[in-house]
Symmetry: C2
Subunit: 342 residues, 2 copies
């Protein structure tokens, strides 16, 4: 993975530099300076910089100049940052990248508004494309972000509805559909295709990248669900077991429901759907050992590997059309997505 | 006011038609259909349609064709709608346009996300300009929305901070500064200037419209603060006295603090800054009668009239440069802003 990691680090540095140069720092009104501090908070926590790097790698793979895509990559990084500010509020999450979530630190009202303010900066970064890639391509890129935006908010709505409506009659297909929307679009499809678009890639490659992006994105999310239960909190940066406390529907809990006996199922539904504040630590431990006993994590990991393998096959259809050195990096990326610890 | 009202009604109809044609209706995934229902909720409640009408009136005033600005006007109407979904969550408001606020109806997590989804549609409406006014002007309009977006979220942050930090050491100037950001930009400045921009107005008119927009926008907000205390709930559509329950800083409460005795001030601070759930109805009634006794509402209305008069003078600098019939309508609009009951 040597090559992929050094590219990731290098691109992350460039994207972060752009973000922190562009985000406002201070204002004569002290309250607004405080808003700026809040807007810089999540971006300054050590994220992976994965999504902007995918964008830049695909831009280069199709013969483009990544320097012309830095601000678009930065906009993608802001998307991830503002949307998780809102997600953390919606899910009642407590930790983000190893530190208290923004609404825990500053209160819900200011955090919600800071998420909105940061979303504005994302569109501003995209508007800055005007002088770099011209008005028409600027609007093409904005169009890609609009599709991603629509898919992500739809996926988030589906997931929140499942929790709110106590839905457990869910199949693998339901989960895949939700994940493609909630995760795969903004993690893989939009980064890869937008990078290709800025490079001037032919529209006929879009379908290949779409299939690749959907499979890899879901594989990424499954690995996230796994890490959420058995990861190392210091490396992973989120609360271990947080998904159980938040009652999330994951491939792992769906598999558990499938295998559990009727009496176990009744216990699971009651304890997972309880409001977070009323949940008991001992119940969560009990659920965790049931997950292990039924081999749900191994099952999820097998699905994740299968999807990543399929993504590799889909990706191979680009052979001959993309730069060889970038091809190698993308193959490393695919392995990283399902083997990562953070 | 005959002319202004008939124009308002006509434009509102056109803008609403565009909004409801463009917003998605149903989806094969039932949860997403439910998201679409939520996105259509606030827009379907009878708003005034004031901001989009200002945009269309100014477009026509500068010789433009309002038909080419309908989707931009609709985007502005969506801005108002998604931002109040988030505001209602941040402020803990219960009523919006005479009905329960979206988060009261569907729960906070889904409402927050629906606000985000609706914001996406606002940018989509603006992107639709591409085929109507060309890529360059489309980006000029997006730029105006970005400025408005930045100002509004900054103003909202200031107001929320005052409440959260129990700030009462506020002057009229503090209030004007907050209101210009929170209200005047999206209610007056951006509608008027964006309409003019689409019509191809010369940049030298921007300064005049800026001064006009700032004064008129603050006058509008003061009238809103007044209606919040003494309006007719059925016509006004928000909870009467809601600002007191939410501990808002308005010209009226700032004036009250200025006039109150030390012991009254101590009572006011304690009771206004209490969490909503702990507030007592009898305390709010007591505050209301203090407001009346000290003539705070009359004082606020006088300021509002002064600002509207100044807006008229600023507006008169456009005489000779704009269409006469629109000039007349805008003068009626100014009067409406400070005399309205809704």
């Amino acid at each position: 993975m040597g090559k992929f990691f050094s590219v990731l680090q290098d691109y992350k540095k460039q994207v972060d530099r752009y973000i922190f140069e562009q985000l406002p720092k201070t204002h004569t009104i002290p309250e607004i300076s405080n808003l700026y501090t809040m807007m810089r908070d999540y971006p300054s926590r050590s994220g992976k910089g994965l999504r902007p790097s995918i964008l830049l790698i695909f831009c280069k793979a199709f013969g483009g100049n990544p320097e012309k895509a830095i601000n678009t990559a930065a906009a993608l990084e802001l998307f991830q940052n503002w949307i998780v500010i809102h997600d953390d509020i919606e899910d009642g999450s407590e930790l983000r990248r190893g530190l208290p979530a923004l609404h825990v630190k500053y209160g819900m009202p200011l955090a919600l508004n800071a998420g909105d303010a940061l979303a504005g900066k994302m569109w501003e970064f995209l508007k800055n494309n005007r002088k770099i890639i011209g008005a028409e391509t600027t609007l093409d890129v904005i169009e890609q972000f609009l599709i991603m935006y629509d898919q992500t908010t739809s996926g988030q709505h589906v997931e929140l509805s499942w929790v709110q409506n106590h839905r457990w009659d869910l199949t693998y297909e339901d989960y895949f559909g939700m994940c493609r929307k909630k995760t795969a679009w903004y993690t893989c499809m939009t980064p890869a295709w937008t990078g290709a678009l800025i490079a001037g890639a032919d529209i006929r490659f879009r379908d290949i990248i779409f299939k690749f992006g959907m499979d890899l994105g879901v594989a990424f999310q499954i690995q996230d669900d796994v890490l959420n239960l058995i990861g190392d909190e210091k490396i992973y940066g989120k609360e271990i077991g947080g998904d159980l406390w938040e009652g999330k529907r994951t491939l792992i809990t769906i598999e558990l429901m499938k295998q559990a006996s009727d009496s176990e199922k009744a216990f699971l539904k009651e304890s997972l759907d309880m409001p977070r504040a009323e949940k008991k630590s001992s119940d969560m431990d009990k659920i965790m050992s049931m997950i292990e006993r039924y081999g749900c994590i191994d099952k999820a990991m097998a699905v994740s590997i299968e999807l990543a393998t399929r993504a590799k096959t889909e990706f191979s259809h680009l052979d001959g059309s993309i730069d060889l050195s970038q091809r190698e990096i993308i193959l490393e990326l695919i392995d990283f997505m399902i083997n990562r610890k953070f």
